[in-house]
Symmetry: C2
Subunit: 145 residues, 2 copies
DNA sequence: TTAATACCTACCTTATTGGTAGGTATTAGT
DNA sequence: ACTAATACCTACCAATAAGGTAGGTATTAA
């Protein structure tokens, strides 16, 4: 089934949440995260580079190494994370970053609809940070426990 | 590139808009619409059945036949049209109609995020009708012309 | 020196997308 | 009755993307 958010974005987000929850300033091996999250380590290794290259996380090689968040969760916008891992959050091709302008754009009745949706989706994700999604469950746990 | 709305939903919407604009109570041959919209007739024929079976449009066979809207554009919600043609508007698999419940749903930090987005997207499309997208351009034309 | 880690690149399988091809059934006009 | 125009149906198909796997190399702590 065609999904808006693929495993790349979803897994990346879960990794970052895991880092926020388990990395107290130190480096967390991706192997641990892969096990906790039930995701293939090899697949994660293919997803992460875009996050290190764009200063979301940093990796330390060698024994005792791993990954950690560069910024505090409060400063990690979900929108940025997803745009990096998904490549784009455009709902239709003509709104993609590198799309060539559509010849019908002048007369197109649907373009404004897609544009409005794109704005809505991007604003939604940009209005949330890693801290928001981490906090959600902790608060619930504290309240019930 | 993976898009939220595929050609199925986009073409269907353009067909319905065309019907709203060109079908004054009568039947419009799909061939005409395909030519106006620059879409393959054969492909449209594969997309339309779900709309006829769900009482969005009705077809009349034979010479002089074609399609027409069953309800006035004001009563045709965009959400319904897209859910029919796209199958679903769920942003992730675990929110799809026929999805089996995820084993991690209890602990999942991201589920609420996707659920909130799904609500946002569905509400957005349910808040618009065919009349809204048709009207958009006509109003502009009247204002400038 | 060794074990554990990040980091890199090529390959692979499957499903989906976006169609095409070739018909049959039905109807209006002549 | 015949013909042309239409909806309607079903099988097939090529290209692409999704979701990985495999097999390495580079780096570092102990």
């Amino acid at each position: 089934m065609r999904m808006m958010i693929s495993t790349r974005g979803r897994y990346a987000l879960r990794v970052l949440i895991d880092l926020a929850e388990h990395g107290d300033g130190g480096y967390v091996p991706m192997k641990d995260i892969a096990e906790r999250q039930g995701i293939s380590l090899k697949y994660l290794e293919r997803i992460l580079p875009v996050l290190t290259k764009n200063d979301i996380i940093e990796g330390l090689q060698g024994k005792g190494g791993g990954y950690r968040l560069i910024k505090p969760p409060e400063e990690c916008g979900i929108g940025g994370i997803l745009r990096l891992t998904e490549g784009d959050l455009a709902p239709v091709a003509c709104l993609s970053s590198g799309a060539e302008p559509c010849v019908r754009s002048q007369e197109c009745r649907t373009y404004p609809l897609w544009a409005e949706l794109a704005q809505l989706v991007n604003d939604f994700f940009d209005g949330k940070t890693l801290a928001d999604v981490v906090r959600a469950d902790r608060t619930a746990a504290e309240e019930t426990g």
